[in-house]
């Protein structure tokens, strides 16, 4: 804290050593962590209180199908990170290619989840207590749809954001010196993947 | 107008212990309060702006910081430590004497239904009987209440006994206390539970033990288990509700799907 040290200070303070956009995205993701934690917390509370409401894995829920979906989401994470790696080295073509791939994978994840929802609700596995008809109890259905639903919503938003990013990419808005948009898109997308990894385990496998 | 800081006379065994903790805290915080406010005022007068006078240039004093970190810490820990036992005694039924009289209190909008074990002093037997908004107890003998609720959260509040416990639907929460003086007291609802919250109150009668037994036998003997509220009760409610608010009936109509509020109005 000596005088001279400060006199020489001509630049802003260091801060987090990363640029604002990235810091902002990380900060936002932290709040997302708390949001999903609250849902998961509620899930655990209810499940502990009423284990009888839950059915064995793969009895009501179709694990193979969702397993495949998980696989696709993980792949979409690779394609996303490849898109970032591409633009990081100024490779415009690669950026576009990998973004498109990510969009396709993400969209099909949502598609499969919608299909799964329809199938399940036809089998009487619904969020509404009054009309719940599958094995287990109503809490099973309501927690399932709430958690996977909010994750699905995040994926959907992600896909839209990806499309937006892709459009900018095709307009050549990104470069080796300005790829922030792609990087934070990636951060969000990987986070959504990360959440799914947790949800898949506790909702489908446990 | 009552500006006093004394608590009303307690009439339960742990009531006086709770009060004594209250008075200790009152003393501690009272002293702190006076010290802080007096210091504040003194400084304001003493160091008010005067021409040519300049403020002392100081960034603080670590010794002082240590003092006013440690002293309050000790004080609050003392308070916490004193509170602990009384709290556990009041809330853990395990502290209730073995011969405690079992009762069941079931709250619902907007009434308290008290199930008495009858002469055999066992719940869920033929001689049980239920009274609405009336809690009768023997003096000098602990009661052990199973507290439940049928609809929303209510709060079982006996001011004079220093008893308060939320009644949560889906849970049966044990409550115990021991009355130390015969007389008439109040049972209130302390948790917002709907439009009738303000009049969800009952009466508490503490009998001498002999009188209580005879009361039980005579009540237990009369056939209708669920007894209709005594005229006094309903009259009381309606008159006051009405006087408080002539327009109540219309007002209540749109919520008349509530079985209870109908009953209240009947």
């Amino acid at each position: 804290m000596s005088q001279t040290a400060t006199m020489s200070a001509s630049r802003p303070m260091e801060g987090m050593k990363v640029y604002n956009l990235k810091l902002g995205m990380w900060v936002f993701l932290l709040s997302e962590v708390m949001f999903f934690s609250s849902l998961i917390g509620a899930y655990i509370i209810l499940r502990f209180a009423h284990p009888e409401h839950w059915a064995e894995p793969n009895v009501v829920l179709n694990v193979p199908l969702t397993g495949f979906n998980t696989f696709m989401l993980i792949c979409s994470s690779v394609t996303m990170v490849k898109a970032f790696a591409a633009i990081e080295h100024g490779d415009q073509a690669g950026l576009k290619k990998w973004l498109i791939a990510t969009i396709i994978l993400g969209a099909s994840f949502v598609g499969i989840q919608v299909f799964e929802y329809i199938k399940l609700s036809n089998e009487g596995f619904v969020p509404v207590a009054a009309r719940y008809a599958a094995e287990g109890g109503p809490l099973y259905g309501s927690t399932f749809y709430t958690m996977t639903g909010f994750h699905g919503a995040h994926v959907t938003i992600g896909v839209l954001a990806l499309i937006f990013t892709a459009i900018k990419a095709f307009k050549g808005k990104y470069s080796a010196s300005d790829y922030g948009g792609v990087e934070i898109m990636g951060l969000y997308w990987h986070f959504v993947d990360l959440v799914w990894i947790i949800l898949f385990t506790i909702v489908y496998l446990i | 107008m009552d500006w006093g800081w004394l608590l009303p006379e307690p009439v339960s065994t742990f009531g006086s212990e709770i009060d004594s903790i209250y008075y200790v805290i009152l003393a501690i915080t009272g002293v702190i309060f006076v010290l802080v406010e007096v210091a504040l005022v003194v400084f304001l007068v003493k160091y008010r702006h005067r021409e040519g006078h300049r403020a002392e240039y100081s960034h603080g004093n670590t010794k002082l910081e240590a003092v006013w970190t440690i002293v309050p810490f000790i004080l609050v820990m003392v308070i916490a430590w004193m509170s602990m036992d009384v709290w556990l005694e009041a809330k853990m039924v395990s502290h209730a004497p073995g011969d405690a009289l079992p009762l069941r209190v079931t709250a619902k909008q907007f009434e308290w239904n008290v199930t008495y074990p009858g002469p055999d002093e066992k719940l869920d037997t033929a001689d049980d009987f239920v009274k609405r908004n009336q809690l009768h107890l023997p003096v000098g003998r602990a009661v052990r209440i199973d507290l439940a609720s049928e609809d929303v959260i209510h709060s079982f509040f006996l001011p004079d006994f220093r008893v308060k416990q939320d009644a949560v639907p889906g849970m049966v929460i044990p409550v115990w206390f021991e009355a130390t003086a015969a007389g008439e007291y109040t049972l209130g609802c302390a948790e917002l539970c709907g439009l009738g919250h303000y009049r969800m109150r009952g009466s508490v009668t503490v009998h001498e033990s002999a009188a209580f037994d005879s009361w039980v036998t005579e009540e237990g003997s009369e056939p209708p288990a669920v007894e209709t509220p005594t005229p006094a009760d309903t009259a009381g409610v309606d008159l006051e509700a009405a006087s408080a608010n002539p327009a109540a009936p219309e007002g209540h109509d749109h919520s008349s799907h509530q079985p209870v509020s109908e009953e209240e109005r009947a």
Binding site: S10, G15, N20, V27 | K164, V168, P169, G188, A190, A244
Partner: protein, 596 residues
């Protein structure tokens, strides 16, 4: 000038306003959809003062009913048959009044006032930045809060009336309309708070990024003005607490609409789960409502007594300690809820500990005015009132923290007294202080000091007459949220006290009109504000009032902490943070060991 010296990837450039550059934005861009943090701050000010006003009016209705139960409100018939036929408030409407009073005051008045207004006004100027890190996000934050407010107001006019389950919205009462008789209102309550949550979130992200990444050269952490420190920690609390509320509200909304049973015991729901989720958010929330107020108080006290903040570092540590302890005490709202008594004991201990950092703050404030050169300008008066009143509110908190005592005073007017001593006596007085202090900077006009002092005096007196007796009512066992105490014989005897409180409350409300007038009139009629009316040190005072779009023409350099008042060897008793030390200055500095 990049604020991101380390990493490429995104040129997050700050646009320093070039000297004499004409501001050619359209009216809409300048005042309505502005991305300028100062304008957004002012928008938040109008927004939240309006809700403070509404909340205050609801309070007046509450007090009328409690002061004169069953007597028609003069002209109250306009409230309509469903609410107050012939001007006589109905029980269900009373519940709505209490609920909405609490909701408006907490979520739409105090929170936006502290976080929205002072966060936007102060952060960029105090850290020496051109604007927030994400100006457009900042604008979005305000324009998300507006619909939230409108939805909440609208809920008064739907059939069944506004939410009536208390600002804490305890399930099952809030979850099932059959119980409360409130249908649409309770749903709108959830929706509105969810929307408001997004607004707060955007704000928090912005604040944190700005404070961390955009501090001007030399603005080290330990040179930040305390309001910024407080707002930084507050932003973290908002960031981590609000999502939990959002989650809980969503579950509640599902229970109300699509028929899930998360909180409804039939079909396995858990009523206590709502309370855990709500208070897990709720207690950090109450510190969100006090920390910025504490920061403002420190700033004003130091300025008013022309003396450096006593124990600056410890003030900072205390803020951090309060914030983080605040996460492990939520159970103190649930002592009587049927939660395991052993947990109650744990929560009591953690709650008690919070008194310690609060103690540090209080005593350091005393240390700050000690041997000061105290100027009683209006901001100073309000800041002093904060200290005096917060102590009362805090100490009453200790009664409730003691579990056995809480058995008796839980959900009584003792709690109501506590609420208002910390929130009105605390937060609101600090807010008044802040408004009187920074109004000149942002509107270019001084508030009238005489009116200000009158407003302060009346508010201080009537405020205490209103809320102090509530302690006594509580100690006599008067429950909260009670439409008509006269239902209970043992409370009926306290009606005179209730009437006395109500009279004082009406006078308190009336006293606020002075402030309102002063505020609105000074916008045009106040005398022109100099750039540094209070001889303060922090960066904003080096700029014209109001500062130009883009704040600083060149990036300022900071040489010392913000509270270098009455430094020996200087003729002025203040020392702006960015004034380069003269050789003489530096020599004295070294001699006196000034922490520059």
């Amino acid at each position: 000038m990049s604020t991101m010296p380390i990493e490429v990837g995104h040129p997050s450039v700050q646009h320093w306003a070039e000297p004499g550059h004409a501001d050619d934005r359209s009216f809409l861009r300048k005042y309505v959809f502005s991305t300028d943090h100062k304008v957004i701050g002012c928008q938040f000010l109008i927004f939240s003062l309006t809700f403070l006003l509404i909340g205050g009016m609801l309070a007046m209705l509450i007090r009328w009913q409690l002061g004169w139960p069953g007597i028609a409100i003069p002209g109250g018939a306009i409230l309509g048959e469903a609410k107050a036929p012939g001007g006589i408030i109905l029980p269900e409407f009373y519940n709505s009044l209490v609920t909405m009073h609490g909701t408006f005051m907490i979520f739409f008045a105090i929170m936006p006032l502290l976080v929205g207004v002072f966060g936007n006004w102060l952060i960029p100027l105090h850290v020496g930045a051109a604007d927030m890190a994400f100006p457009r996000l900042n604008m979005a934050s305000f324009w998300t809060a507006v619909p939230a407010g409108l939805i909440m107001i609208a809920s008064f006019f739907v059939t069944g009336g506004a939410a009536a389950a208390g600002w804490t919205g305890y399930a099952p009462l809030s979850a099932n309309p059959e119980y409360s008789g409130v249908y649409m209102g309770q749903k709108l309550w959830c929706v509105s708070l969810i929307v408001l949550g997004f607004s707060s979130l955007m704000g928090a992200v912005n604040y944190i990024t700005t404070i961390v990444n955009m501090r001007a050269p030399g603005m080290k952490w330990m040179r930040l003005p305390l309001p910024v420190w407080a707002l930084f920690i507050t932003a973290i609390l908002v960031l981590l607490a609000i999502p939990v509320l959002t989650g809980a509200l969503i579950l509640l909304l599902f229970d109300q609409t699509i028929g899930t049973t998360f909180f409804l015991p039939k079909d396995g729901g858990q009523p206590l789960m709502w309370q855990h989720l709500f208070w897990y958010f709720g207690h950090p929330e109450v510190y969100i409502l006090i920390l910025p107020a504490m920061g403002i108080t420190s700033e004003v006290l130091s300025n008013g007594s022309r003396k450096p903040v006593f124990g600056y570092k410890f003030m900072v540590y205390a803020i951090v300690a309060i914030a983080f302890l605040g996460w492990v005490v939520w159970g103190h709202h649930m002592f009587q809820s049927g939660m395991n008594p052993l947990l109650g004991a744990t929560f009591m201990t953690s709650t008690m500990v919070i008194a310690v950092p609060s103690a540090i703050k209080v005593f350091n404030w005393l240390g700050t005015i000690y041997r000061g050169d105290i100027h009683f300008h209006t901001p100073m008066l309000n800041a002093l009132a904060f200290v005096a009143m917060f102590v009362i509110g805090g100490l009453s908190g200790v009664f409730m923290a003691s579990t056995p005592v809480d058995i008796y005073i839980h959900d009584t007017y003792f709690i109501v007294a506590h609420i208002h001593y910390v929130l009105f006596g605390g937060s609101l007085f600090a807010i008044f202080a802040g408004i009187y202090f920074w109004f000149p900077k942002f509107f270019g006009r001084m508030l009238n000091p005489t009116l200000g002092k009158i407003h302060f005096a009346l508010t201080f007196v009537f405020y205490n007459l209103v809320f102090f007796p509530m302690h006594n009512l509580g100690l006599n066992g008067m429950m909260r949220r009670l439409y008509d105490p006269n239902q209970y014989e043992y409370l009926a005897q306290h009606q005179p006290m209730n009437t006395f409180i109500s009279v004082s409350a009406l006078l308190l409300g009336a006293a606020q009109l002075i402030f309102m007038f002063n505020f609105l009139w000074s916008l045009r009629g106040g005398k022109k504000a100099p750039s540094n009316p209070w001889n303060a040190n922090s960066l904003e005072w080096t700029l014209p009032s109001p500062p130009p779009h883009g704040n600083f023409t060149t990036m300022p350099t900071v040489y010392r902490g913000p509270y270098e008042y009455s430094v020996p060897g200087r003729e002025e008793d203040y020392w702006p943070q960015n004034e380069p030390p003269t050789d003489a200055g530096r020599r004295t500095a070294e001699r006196e060991g000034v922490h520059a």
